[in-house]
Symmetry: none
Subunit: 557 residues, 2 copies
């Protein structure tokens, strides 16, 4: 808990990867970490190998105060990172030693403190309502007090770029006061996020040339350039970069830690993480999204589920020749995977590649490949789409193999449907009720079950579970985690289908058993039947995995 | 349809905003535009004022071929943009004139053609399996053939940056062949998306200095720098920038059109849109997300719902002093809003403006405006969205007016529902049947009607028509032309709702009477009820118009 420099990276203290997910990242709408969440986030970031973890603002937020107390009490054993407490300089008209907010920073017992100070004259005059001389004195006094108390201090110069453009001397006086008082890094903050990389790099270079200070960078994403700005600043001489996991933050967010690291390591060849860290990027990104309770962005650079997914037929055929020609880096380097999307443009090559990815061996099964390709094209012509439904595609491939290979035939029918009925009532009193009855054969039994639900699909799902769980208890672990609906009009034009409601419906169901997630697809003119097909595949896919663990079909003995 | 240069921008042909949402953007996983969708996307982009709209790849994809045919037949009347067909150069070992793919480009009858050509020697040799001389000849032959046929031609130099780093002479030979044969712009493509802005700007500047060619830029977002790279290229001399709406595209996506435009106009002071275009950015971004059936990203730069939302207490209190200190631009400039200060007044003003646009006079009705505003906020908190459903918004406004103005009270209730019931059967023989019964009051009669349909909503629609048409014959003209479903999960994360099927459903129904089209919305936990609400609004909106033509409610005498 007393580390003040990063451990485990070849660059040591000469370059800082500084994470502020727990403070600035938590400014994102909808994020609300518990103290336990905060500890979990810090452990994941430390495991990755970042140099600094800013834990929050002790004294300002009770949860943050508690976080530092628990960290100091031994709940956070950091291997690589130093822990940082964030706070502001003392108020006007007092001393740092007498300011309770500054005192709270000491009480947090973090070895490093980052102080935020206004460095734009307009903010000093209009928001702080003081003058530059006093603002500079607030910085000097607070930094020297904390340094005197044995803390390493960094200065976050708020609104630096706007302030420097408006009145450079004022902004440099603020930096100078901090550095002369013993701060180690002057962090230039693009607080309003309005910068573009070429100009920002020029400013960073100019500030370093004029002052000789060690400079850091903190960017917001309001021009969609936060990652680019951060990297450009490093190229211009900044040696400390502040980011948040997945770019979480206020407004458009902050610079995404994972993209910045990916760029620094793979493009600029800067070893800013311990050796094993880079391959953990994707996993840590998704785990942090999970803790923040935000769906991961599949299109996020480096770590997104689709970051290396190829759809164009043009590409898929050539990818077999040399994947390196079509990926900017090897996806495995950042713990990600190349995915080939099976689409209308699919050919044998992409289907075989896909089978390999899904663990289905198609090497010596030309008939199964041909059959599966025919089936995929036939289904896609009717509106099916497997590009987001790997689990249904795997079932399709295994069902094709089963046609010519009896040993694979037991594969995937944990139950069979006899019939179902769904009744939806909008009653005269205005209440809307859904009720479903299913009749299925499972494990040699004919079972009938009825359940109500919020909508027709929910009722059907509930009735199916009620029918099956007594015979297939593992089904209880399966939850639907997402449900997407897309209406496809066959002909397209307004006149092609006389009534839009006659169109075909495609349903994607995402399921989880808390270990894995998988997605299945169903298509039908009737939305409930389409949902049913996707639901059945979801359970069949789980059965595939259970079967290999507990025997055929996962049946209770 | 014969425009080859942008119209309506101060920069004219000297700078091109080039949109490829319909071609490269459609490579994003999950996007599948119908031809009607493609026409709607093109109209929205044209309304914004982009210079070029790439409509697709005629000859390669049947839907794209149909899109160009319908555009040429008069369904697309572009005011600002020129329409572009995309395709590849002729194959090796033939002539452009004899290549059916090149012929398909001519048949598309678009005035501009963008040709893609490989400009990385490794791709020429490994993927095309030919040599540089033949690749160069393919470019020269195809460009000069299309120019000879009266087309304006742009060249997309695929993998340019990687290729130029590997073998600059080869890459420049490809550009040279195109430009000498009559192409107007050499578009440098970062196809694998691995570039960073400082180096990319250097390369762009160097290519321009060495060749004197007019240069364009096309960036993918694999380093999270596509927007920054595009802007940096423009600063380095590129005068043609290719983007996609909301950054849709393969893998991590493309450069986001809205962020690039925002940066060019507000940061670099380049008037790249017609005067009124900038304030449409947010609206068009959301409408295009709606058509793509992708939830808008609230944190998207410039246009996101949260792009100017302030959470930090630190900021929120100071914002009252001077909002300009805390926003990088005035949010209204891009049609967005600052959310901390969303006041009653701001909401009222935009609602009145919207009423004016819809022909609802709210000038002397402060109570109706206040009531409508309350109602809109209450509904939006429950998942409703009126952004794409003007007809439902108009009904909402008129219903508020009716509360205080008896003369308007007869407005919008052509019938009232007593109850409905829908029964869905998946029979033992595999057939799936939907049957609906409605009980309604119309024109003083209580009517009960039953009908079958392909799915539950279709059956309900059919039963409702059967009940109403004898009394409201004009209803026979109304057709549903499109139907979209979006599932809204309350939280965001996979754990937010234990079962995805319990989420709230938003349905958009687009209707037409062969003269006009209008869109209505319904939201409910039950998808069928949500559809019902949108259906009822669709008919009520038609009644509004019929009433002014043939008397109250359009009742048969």
């Amino acid at each position: 808990m007393t580390r003040t420099t990063p451990a485990g990276t070849p660059l040591g203290d000469s370059f800082h990867v500084y994470d502020t997910t727990l403070r600035d990242g938590a400014q994102r709408e909808g994020i609300s970490y518990s103290v336990a969440d905060k500890l979990a986030v810090a452990r994941l970031l430390d495991g990755l190998g970042v140099g600094y973890i800013e834990g929050g603002w002790p004294g300002a937020l009770p949860k943050d105060t508690e976080f530092f107390a628990r960290a100091a009490a031994g709940e956070l054993d950091l291997k690589h990172a130093a822990l940082v407490a964030f706070g502001s300089t003392r108020r006007a008209g007092t001393t740092a030693a007498a300011d309770p907010q500054v005192r709270a920073l000491l009480d947090a017992r973090a070895p490093v403190v980052t102080l935020v100070a206004k460095s734009d004259r307009r903010h000093i005059e209009l928001a702080l309502r003081t003058d530059v001389a006093e603002a500079v004195e607030m910085v000097r006094d607070t930094v020297s007090f904390l340094v005197g108390e044995g803390r390493r201090v960094f200065l976050d110069a708020e609104h630096f770029f706007d302030g420097y453009a408006f009145d450079p001397d004022c902004s440099l006086r603020v930096l100078g006061a901090a550095m002369e008082a013993g701060a180690d890094v002057a962090v230039l903050c693009d607080t309003n996020g309005g910068q573009l990389p070429l100009a920002l790099a020029d400013t960073v270079g100019e500030v370093i040339a004029r002052t000789g200070f060690r400079v850091g960078i903190h960017c917001q994403d309001d021009t969609s350039c936060a990652v680019a700005n951060s990297v450009a600043a490093v190229q211009a001489g900044a040696s400390h970069v502040q980011c948040t996991a997945n770019g979480y933050g206020e407004r458009a967010g902050n610079a995404d830690l994972f993209a910045v690291i990916g760029n620094l390591v793979t493009k600029l060849k800067m070893p800013v993480l311990p050796e094993a860290g880079l391959a953990e990027l994707s996993r840590v990104s998704h785990a942090l999204a999970e803790i923040a309770n935000i769906a991961p962005d599949p299109h996020q650079a480096y770590v997104g589920w689709s970051a290396f997914a190829h759809k164009a037929g043009l590409h898929a055929s050539a990818i077999k020749v040399d994947p390196e020609l079509y990926n900017h880096i090897d996806p495995a380097a950042v713990g990600n995977d190349m995915r080939v999307l099976v689409t209308e443009m699919a050919g044998r090559a992409s289907l075989e590649l896909k089978g390999h990815e899904l663990g289905v061996d198609l090497a010596d099964r030309p008939d199964a490949v041909a059959g599966a390709l025919r089936r995929v094209k036939e289904l896609e012509a009717r509106g099916w789409s497997f590009e987001a439904a790997d689990a249904s595609l795997e079932l399709l491939l295994r069902r094709e193999i089963a046609k010519t290979d009896p040993s694979a035939a037991e594969a995937v029918a944990p139950f069979t449907l006899e019939s179902y009925r769904v009744i939806l009532d909008h009653r005269a009193d205005g209440e809307v009720v859904s009720e479903a009855t299913v009749k299925v054969d499972v494990a040699g039994h004919r079972v009938i079950a009825t359940a109500e639900g919020i909508g027709p699909v929910h009722a059907l799902d509930a009735a199916l579970r009620r029918a099956l769980v007594p015979h297939l208890p593992w089904l209880d672990d399966v939850e639907l985690s997402d449900y997407k609906v897309r209406i496809l009009t066959s002909g397209d034009g307004p006149r092609a289908t006389p009534h839009g409601t006659e169109a075909v419906t495609r349903v994607l169901v995402q399921s989880t058993d808390r270990e894995l997630e998988w997605t299945t697809v169903g298509v039908h003119g009737n939305i409930v039947e389409a949902s049913w097909l996707a639901l059945c595949d979801a359970l069949a896919h789980k059965a595939l995995r259970v079967r290999s663990e507990v025997g055929i079909g996962g049946l209770r003995p």
